[in-house]
């Protein structure tokens, strides 16, 4: 059933447009760096100063650039729309009468939103690798630790970064899914979900509430850069995945409780 759901979601023009925007991030980044010659070492967003040295870094730089806003935006749209979108169209009642099963439908929606998180990150990385290789030299990759790894290893780590970034979005995705069960207005669910990102990011930057930081779902979003250390530094990535799993458990349960008990009046 989630395959059917995936086909409907990914076949939608809106989703294709969102993925198109994500593809544009590394392409524009590569073009800008190529035309301007790139920032001096140590300047600009993370990885951008390394793009001219090796095309692999285009993918990682694009992930860094897209991380705070573009990816969460895309995920807020897809997650916020999941149930609220069906409710606003009125299709929710026909899905439930079919019967799709309330928990079953929520699970299918959850799987597809999770899949979208990974596809969104993957699209950026794949487009970044292609653009990077097209515009810039490629060969052995100098890691953040100063050692070198093979180009293939660098590509592999970039793809792994996409997976980690995708999984990092699961907390946000489950918040969005939960909010989506609360309302019949998809745009409201999207806005609230995106609002959660903003609040979390602001709290994350306020040192007075540093005790909260390890619990914020945005806190370890940049941990994927630890993949290009030698050896790979797994500590923060591990913490991130555990934290995301916690968010999925809490908000997934809340979404389930709401979904299985709500009156469908739309």
């Amino acid at each position: 059933m989630w395959l059917v759901e995936a086909r409907t979601v990914f076949g939608r023009a809106r989703i294709k447009a969102l993925l198109g925007v994500l593809v544009a991030v590394p392409v524009f980044l590569a073009l800008a760096v190529y035309l301007s010659g790139g920032p001096a070492n140590g300047n600009g967003p993370a990885f951008v100063d390394r793009v001219t040295q090796n095309g692999v870094f285009t993918a990682l730089a694009a992930l860094t650039v897209a991380m705070p806003f573009f990816i969460p935006l895309a995920i807020s749209v897809v997650a916020g729309d999941a149930i609220a979108g069906e409710a606003s169209l009125g299709t929710l009642r026909y899905l439930l009468v079919r019967p799709a099963g309330r928990a079953r439908l929520l699970a299918a929606k959850g799987i597809v939103v999770g899949l979208f998180c990974i596809v969104a990150a993957l699209v950026i990385v794949v487009a970044g690798l292609i653009a990077g290789v097209a515009f810039f030299p490629h060969g052995v990759v100098v890691t953040l630790s100063g050692t070198t790894i093979s180009f293939v290893d660098g590509m592999g780590r970039s793809l792994l970064a996409a997976l980690i970034v995708g999984l990092s979005m699961f907390g946000l995705a489950s918040i969005g899914l939960f909010v989506s069960t609360l309302t019949d207005v998809p745009i409201a669910a999207m806005a609230v979900t995106l609002g959660a990102v903003i609040v979390s990011a602001i709290l994350d930057s306020v040192s007075e509430v540093s005790f909260l930081h390890p619990w914020l779902f945005t806190n370890y979003w940049t941990a994927f850069s630890d993949l290009v250390r030698d050896p790979v530094y797994w500590h923060n990535i591990g913490k991130d995945l555990i934290l995301q799993a916690g968010y999925v458990a809490v908000f997934g349960a809340a979404a389930w409780a709401r979904m299985t008990s709500r009156d469908v009046l739309a």
């Binding site: 409907t8 026909y94 079919r98 019967p99």
Partner: protein
């Protein structure tokens, strides 16, 4: 019973949208669920289909207790609830395919064939590949019906199926409902149009302000309002006195005519009494009341009154 409820109620705050109703829809019947807009018909249907949790009471569909058996029962129920709803960016056939595949049996070898047949049945074959966005209101309603007919079902729940349709479409749909009834499908048809119910239904339930005022066969509803006698005479005032003395109720003089409720009196006896009293009877008519009169007698209100 195809649909059975006991003490079913749904309250929204102070509003008793559905107030303690006991529906009994016999298997194989075409049951007209009649009531003005806002009388609780759609809320009842939502409860029956498990979309809304009732405040009180219990119900069964096709003999199965609900909502416990929804996953095994609902596949045998086709439904059109409060208008059609589809994905605007998908074509008619893709819409039907998606909904069908979201059910318990997501892999179905007969799907394409069933979709083609359902679209054919409602006359949408030519527009099968057209996006739902481009559909007119009447076409959308037809697609909603195609969806309800996509699987061979034992119970069809149709909520105002002819809303927004042109007269030709309305006739086709009524014909289709009659045909389905003849094939043995139980049809639960909600409508605020008495004429629609009168044309296609064998049974009727009348809703008013959340209550089920009566249910039974169409003949029961007709009988529920007593027939009247209309008389035109040379002296209507004296004629009214004679008939009132005989026991006729609600006698009212209207110009040269008078009307009264027969109330068990035989028209021939009334006629003899009038003649014996020396009144010149010009016309004497037993009026079989229309269903609308019966409805008004039940609810005390006319039709299309938002409750």
């Amino acid at each position: 019973m195809a649909v059975e409820t006991h003490g079913l109620a749904k309250h929204f705050g102070d509003l008793r949208a559905v107030d303690d109703i006991d529906l009994a829809v016999p298997a194989g019947s075409t049951y007209g669920f009649l009531g003005p807009n806002g009388s609780g018909k759609t809320t009842t249907i939502r409860v029956l289909l498990g979309l809304v949790t009732p405040t009180a009471g219990n119900w069964s569909l096709l003999g199965q207790p609900m909502p416990q058996r929804s996953m095994s029962t609902l596949p045998h129920v086709g439904a059109l609830v409060e208008g059609p709803a589809f994905y605007p960016w998908l074509s008619a056939q893709d819409n039907l395919a998606r909904f069908d595949a979201m059910g318990p049996d997501w892999r179905s070898p007969t799907r394409a064939k069933r979709i083609a047949e359902a679209l054919e049945r409602v006359g949408l074959t030519a527009a099968a590949k057209k996006k739902y966005r481009a559909y007119s209101l009447g076409m959308r309603q037809r697609l909603g019906l195609a969806w309800a007919l996509l699987r061979p079902v034992q119970l069809l729940v149709l909520d105002e199926p002819t809303n927004g349709m042109d007269p030709q479409g309305t006739r086709e749909i009524r014909h289709l409902i009659r045909q389905l009834g003849a094939e043995g499908t139980t049809v639960f048809l909600s409508s605020h149009l008495l004429s629609e119910i009168e044309q296609v239904c064998s049974h009727v339930g009348v809703m008013h302000r959340g209550k089920l005022l009566m249910q039974g066969t169409l003949a029961d509803l007709r009988a529920s309002a007593a027939p009247k006698l209309r008389v035109e005479a040379d002296d209507p005032v004296r004629a009214a006195e004679v008939l009132a003395r005989m026991g006729m109720a609600d006698v009212a003089v209207q110009g040269p005519q008078l009307v009264g409720t027969l109330d068990g009196l035989r028209p021939e006896d009334c006629c003899r009494s009038l003649v014996e009293a020396g009144i010149g009877v010009r016309m004497l008519l037993r009026e079989q009341l229309s269903l609308e009169d019966a409805f008004v007698a039940l609810t005390g209100e006319g039709f299309n009154v938002a409750g």
